[in-house]
Point group: C2
Chain length 331, copies 2
Amino acid sequence: MEVIGVFNAGVTRYLDETILLLRVAERPINDNPEVYVVPLYHPSEDRIVLQEIERKPEYDFSDVRVIRTPERNYLTSMSHLRIARSTDGIHFTIESEPTLLPSGPYESYGIEDPRITLIDNIYYITYSAISELGICTSMITTEDFITFTRQGNIFHPDNKDVAIFPASIGGSYYALHRPSCSHYGQPEMWIAESGDLKQWGNHRHLIGVRPGFWDDGRIGASAVPFEIEEGWLEIYHGADKSNRYCIGALLLDKHEPWKVIARSVEPIMEPETDYELEGFFGNVIFPCGALHEEGLAKIYYGASDTSIGYAEVTIEAIRANLGLKQLNNQL
Amino acid sequence: MEVIGVFNAGVTRYLDETILLLRVAERPINDNPEVYVVPLYHPSEDRIVLQEIERKPEYDFSDVRVIRTPERNYLTSMSHLRIARSTDGIHFTIESEPTLLPSGPYESYGIEDPRITLIDNIYYITYSAISELGICTSMITTEDFITFTRQGNIFHPDNKDVAIFPASIGGSYYALHRPSCSHYGQPEMWIAESGDLKQWGNHRHLIGVRPGFWDDGRIGASAVPFEIEEGWLEIYHGADKSNRYCIGALLLDKHEPWKVIARSVEPIMEPETDYELEGFFGNVIFPCGALHEEGLAKIYYGASDTSIGYAEVTIEAIRANLGLKQLNNQL
């Protein structure tokens, strides 16, 4: 296997360190042009098997990330999660071994796109568990980033982009999530409610795609929401119909987070640099986390499914983007 | 509007009556061959609007139940739920008014396919809530079938065929459910866990479609499971790839209902009669409920999305179908 990308990392603070939980994507090294080789985790044997797929004309290889055959679809790479640590938030040391590897029947295609929420000294890590059974969101908890406890699938397939709010609100926990529908719905953002962070209900549609806008194709939560003066600020991702991914902001009511106060008309950030425009899957900036410190949103984002970028934006600039009055005017 | 079918009814006992909660499907009466007319519930105005759809060549009218356009899909009919009552389980009096009508943003295409679970004197009604936002499963509770309380969406889209077990097992409640996946998974049966019947987690895949069998296309829970000597007996539905719906049985472990003990190799019932073979959507038998009484499963099932049939099968016959030893031999 070779690493083809390190991207879409969850981020948090632990003691005096910034922790990134990296998505590391690997694919088999293959010199045979006659076949594709895809990695599959076999839960019954607890090992990764490399499976050859013939280049049949009826198979669809048009998306570099997926091979579509009439029988089933395969991912061309497999991801695991790995910790990187930093004392300044910029220079990171990547651990030499995977932190979390695929395990069990729901992860045979890999684990992806973690988000980390800290509540009462427990870190709740949500991530996409991909298998031939569908795309579930699973949860793992840790208190120290050394010992991890698997908590099972908290959302049934298909669901991804789950970001849990970092505090209970009116006695309930809330999570943003993104179901995919087969029949009528669009890939849009929903909000769910929980008493224990494991069992979720009261699913409500939160925001939809906007025809003609930068986010008219698909949207989902990116960062764990954080609190500002006016409510909960969510840094989310939206793609247009040509799969160009940008970053926007969403402001939710402080006490009733299922109520939308404001939403970016224009993105707060677009793919611009070489590494954002080109890569394994180009024209993509995709955060899985942001830190809210020093009046800034410090955004760690996947660039083109290949690398990780870092951007700082002032909360004031996000306020302006959202059309909110400047705080100075309110005071 | 005209009624085009009464089918897929939930069933339970209340006092000395058998209660059916009927799915009543209606469509607009339309004399204009130039257009289709579909009913849409508008939640903001709380009324049903009849919308004309041109018969454009690029629209797909091949499925009598659905109109597919590039922008969105429509249902050709709209369903509500209505009570019928009987003292003998055979002769029913249908109430003159709808019991539950579409309401709110998740039901603009109608409400369908109720299941009724009795726990501690409360009836938990789960049903499919269909809208342009997707297919959710919602819950309504009642104690008397006069006053009803809406409990919101308990499963996010797409999900249907939810049947809640009628008792807690080892301190948790369980529900069978059927997600639909856009990317990798099949329409198959899952099981979820809950502490309060409203918030659900620990989603696990239970059984899949079986290539070459009568249930190789799609499967889902039908009746609310009931307890027999060997475990929990589920009367489920399975369709083959040509949409022929049959009824099968599934036996789950009494204490660990996520473990499968036995499953019908052959259906326990297949479409045979005229009214099962032909109708609005023919070749379909589809139960949403069964009563377990007098050593019988009394199955109320939708026939061809048009009418409701009734069948009795002995538990002994189901045991034989499942390949279980006859109880007499065990004693």
